[in-house]
C-alpha cells in the first residue's frame, strides 16, 4: 500500500481458552466418597487443563468441545502513523487481541512484532489507590502506564491543569467524587506519549464531557502521527477517527478496509440494518388490494444504493409501489427515526403532477431527496407508508424497513469543523458564519444581507 515503516505486524495470532469444565457428579455414595478423596488430584488436573493444551486443539475434528478460540489465525499489519479501529460484537476477540499485543497474556500460537514503545489503555486509573493523594496517584498511575518520573515531573502541571482538580491535588483520592477521579486518571493517560497506543473501550465510561475530551485527545494523537489501535462500540467515533477498520468475528478477521465500508458492512450483517428491501413476490408484499410496497431503498446522489452516506451529501429515499386498483388519489410518505428512537420528521409525496390525481393501476417510483448538511451523524431508520385519500386510509406501513448511516469524516468542511467529540442535536445544519475584527477595538456590525448562503 505504501512504504511507511511497520508498527505492528501480527501473523496467525491465535489464543484459546478452556471454558466450562463440567463437575463430575456420581450417583452412588461410594463413588462420591472415592471422588472426594481423589479431589485434590482431580482439582489439580482440572486447573492445569485451563492453560495446558495438547496438540489436538489445532486439529479441527479432534479439538475438544470445551475449547474456545478467542482469536484464530489473525494476521494484519499496521503502518507507523495509522489509526486503526477494531470493531466486532462482544466475544469477537477484540479485547483478547489488545491483551496479547500489550503483553498481558500470551498467545497460544502465532507471533506479533511491535516496533516502538507501546502503551495500552485498557482502563483509566489502573492502580489508583484511594489512600494516596491526587499528586501521588498521578506519579503511581503514570509509572504504571510506562512513564518515567522525569517525564511526569515535566508534564505534571499540564496533567493537573487538564484534569481541573488542582485544588484537591493534595487530598487523598478517596475524598474525590467519582467524576474527579476519572478526570484525573484520564488526564494522566492523555499525556502518555508512546509510539503506539492501544485503547480499549475507555470511551464507554464517563459522562458526555469526558467522552468529548477523550475523542478530542484521540484526534490530537492522530495529528501527532502516532500509531493507534482503537477498540470501540461507538461506530460514529470509529468512522470519524480511524481511516481504517478491522472487523473481527468469532476470533477471526472478517473485514479490513476503509472504515466507512467496514462499519457499513458490520451494521448490515450484524445489526441487520440494510439499505434496500425488496418484496419480489407480490403475495408477501406489504399492503392490500389497492396498493402494495415493492421496494424501498436508500441511495446516494448518483443513484447508488448505499448504507453509509457522507454528511455533506444528499440522501435519496426511494420507494417503489404498485397500485392494484385504479381510480384512487394517494400519496406515499415515510418517517425518519434516529438511533434513540426520536422521530425527526414525516415527509409526504408532493410532486404537483400527481397531487390529488386519480391514478391508473401500475408501478410507481417515488423518491425524496434529503439535503446534505442537514442530518446529524448516526444511524437513521426509514419507515415507508402509503395512504389513499377520500377517505384517508393507510394502505401499508413497514416500521424501520431500511436504515442508513450518516458519516462525518472530519475533513473540516462539515458542520463539525474541527471538533472531534460527539456533537449533540438531531440535525446538523451547516450555517454560514461571519466573523469580523477591527484592530481599533470598535464594534463592526455584520451584514445580514451579505450572509445569504
Amino acid at each position: 500500500m505504501d512504504d511507511r515503516e511497520t508498527a505492528i505486524k501480527v501473523q496467525n495470532l491465535s489464543k484459546c481458552y478452556r471454558i466450562g469444565l463440567k463437575e463430575n457428579m456420581h450417583d452412588s455414595l461410594l463413588k462420591n466418597i472415592i471422588s472426594f478423596i481423589g479431589n485434590p488430584v482431580s482439582n489439580y488436573r482440572r486447573h492445569r487443563s485451563l492453560y495446558r493444551f495438547d496438540d489436538s486443539i489445532f486439529e479441527k475434528d479432534r479439538c475438544p468441545s470445551d475449547i474456545i478460540w478467542a482469536l484464530r489465525d489473525v494476521s494484519f499489519e499496521v503502518k507507523k502513523g495509522e489509526i486503526v479501529g477494531i470493531i466486532g460484537t462482544n466475544g469477537a476477540g477484540k479485547s483478547t487481541l489488545l491483551k496479547i499485543l500489550s503483553r498481558i497474556t500470551g498467545p497460544t500460537r502465532g507471533r506479533a512484532e511491535i516496533h516502538g514503545r507501546i502503551s495500552s489503555l485498557l482502563e483509566v486509573g489502573t492502580g489508583f489507590h484511594p489512600e494516596l493523594t491526587g499528586r501521588e496517584n498521578v506519579y503511581l498511575n503514570g509509572t504504571i502506564l510506562g512513564m518515567k518520573n522525569k517525564e511526569i515531573n515535566r508534564k505534571f502541571d499540564a496533567i493537573v491543569d487538564f484534569s481541573g482538580v488542582e485544588k484537591f491535588i493534595d487530598t487523598p483520592v478517596k475524598r474525590y467524587s467519582s467524576g474527579m477521579k476519572v478526570r484525573l486518571a484520564f488526564s494522566v493517560a492523555a499525556h502518555l506519549e508512546p509510539d503506539i497506543l492501544l485503547i480499549d473501550e475507555v470511551l464507554a465510561v464517563g459522562d458526555a464531557q469526558f467522552q468529548k475530551k477523550c475523542l478530542n485527545k484521540m484526534d490530537a494523537v492522530r495529528q501527532q502521527g502516532r500509531t493507534v489501535l482503537f477498540v470501540s462500540h461507538n461506530m460514529q467515533a470509529v468512522t470519524r477517527l480511524c481511516p481504517r477498520t478491522v472487523l473481527l468475528r468469532g476470533g477471526a478477521i472478517h473485514a479490513d478496509g476503509p472504515s466507512h465500508k467496514v462499519v457499513g458492512y458490520y451494521m448490515d450483517s450484524e445489526k441487520g440494518t440494510r439499505a434496500e428491501r425488496l418484496w419480489p413476490d407480490p403475495e408477501d408484499a406489504p399492503g392490500d388490494d389497492i396498493a402494495r410496497l415493492l421496494a424501498v431503498r436508500v441511495r446516494t446522489e448518483n443513484g447508488k444504493t448505499a448504507d453509509a452516506v457522507d454528511i455533506r451529501k444528499p440522501v435519496v429515499i426511494e420507494m417503489e409501489y404498485e397500485v392494484l386498483e385504479p381510480g384512487h388519489a394517494l400519496f406515499a410518505y415515510f418517517h425518519l427515526v434516529n438511533e434513540e428512537g426520536l422521530e425527526l420528521f414525516e415527509s409526504f409525496e408532493n410532486d404537483p403532477e400527481w397531487r390529488r390525481r386519480r391514478r391508473a393501476a401500475g408501478r410507481y417510483t417515488a423518491a425524496a431527496r434529503i439535503p446534505g448538511n442537514f442530518l446529524a451523524e448516526g444511524i437513521f431508520y426509514v419507515t415507508p407508508a402509503l395512504r389513499t385519500q377520500d377517505p384517508e386510509v393507510r394502505r401499508f406501513r413497514v416500521d424501520d424497513a431500511v436504515a442508513f448511516q450518516v458519516i462525518d469524516s472530519m475533513d473540516g468542511d462539515s458542520a463539525r469543523v474541527d471538533c472531534a467529540y460527539d456533537l449533540g442535536g438531531v440535525i446538523r445544519p451547516l450555517l454560514k458564519w461571519e466573523t469580523r475584527f477591527d484592530p481599533n477595538g470598535k464594534k463592526i456590525p455584520t451584514d445580514p444581507q451579505d450572509m445569504s448562503v
Binding site: 515503516e5 481458552y17 486447573h47 485451563l50 492453560y51 491483551k99 496479547i100 499485543l101 500489550s102 503483553r103 498481558i104 497474556t105 500470551g106 498467545p107 497460544t108 500460537r109 502465532g110 507471533r111 506479533a112 512484532e113 511491535i114 516496533h115 516502538g116 514503545r117 507501546i118 495500552s120 485498557l122 482502563e123 489502573t126 492502580g127 489507590h129 489512600e131 494516596l132 501521588e136 506519579y139 503511581l140 509509572t143 504504571i144 502506564l145 510506562g146 512513564m147 518515567k148 518520573n149 487523598p172 509510539d195
Partner: protein, 276 residues
Amino acid sequence: MKTKKSFITVIEPGPGRQFVDLRELKEYRDLFLSFVTRQVKVLYAQTILGFSWALIKPLFQIVVFSVIFGKVAGVSSDGIPYILFSSVAIIPWTYMSQAMTESSESLVTGHAMLGKVYFPRLVFPLTPVLSRLVDFGISMIIILGVCLYYRVSPTWNLLLFPCLTIMMMAVPAGIGLWLSSLAIRFRDVKHAMPFIIQMLIYSAPIVYSASSISEQYRIFYSLNPIVGVIEGFRACLLGAPVPWVYIIPGAVTEIIIIVSGAFYFKRMERIFADVI
C-alpha cells in the same frame, strides 16, 4: 530518515525468556520505586498511631515471649538477658514474616492490575521486600534502646550488618517468588500462609538458642536460612562470635531458592492473567 534506535518487541507463545530480563527491570525502575513508596505510604494510612505500629507490634511480642519463654518456661538464652536475646531475633523475624506473607499474596492482591496493564510481574513479589524495610528500620530503635539499657558495647561484628540485612531480605524474596506464583493458581497458599509462618518461627532460634540443637542435627538445621539470619544478627549486635556454620549453608539455600523461584516465576508469568 534517521530514527532513534528501533525498539522491537516480539510476542510469541511459550515461556519466552527463561530468566529475569534485567534490562527490562531497569527500564521499569521508576515503577518499582513508586510501588514501594505506595506500599509504605498506604500501610499505616488512617491510623492514629501511624508508624508507631512498627514499634508496638514487635515490642508486644518481645514482652510476651520474654515472660512466657524467658520467665515461665525458663528457656536458656546462652547467658544473655532474655529481653536482649529475644529482641535481636524478633525484629528481623517480624520483618521476614510480614514481607513473606505480603509477598506471597502480592499477585492475588494485585490481580486487577495484572489483567489491565503490562509491566514486569516481578515487581509484585519484590515490592514488600523493600517496603517492609521501613518498618524494620524504625523498629531498630527498640534494639538500640535495649542495647543501651543493658550497656552492650558495639563490636567490629557490626560491620556485618549490611550483609545480614541483604541475607534477611533474600528470605522473603525467595519464598515470595515461589509462593506468589503458586498462590495465583492455587488459593490454598492463602490458607496455608498463617500456618506456615507459625511453623517457621519455631524452626529458627527465635525463642530458644541454637546451641540447644544437638550436634548431629545441626547440619540439617543450618540449611534453614532463617537460622543463619537470626544467629547472625545476634552475633552482629551483641558481639558473640560470628556463626559461619549457620550463615554459609543458609546463604547457599537462599541462592537456590531465589534462582529456582525466579525460574519458576518466569515460567508461570505468561499464564498469570489467564488463571486469576
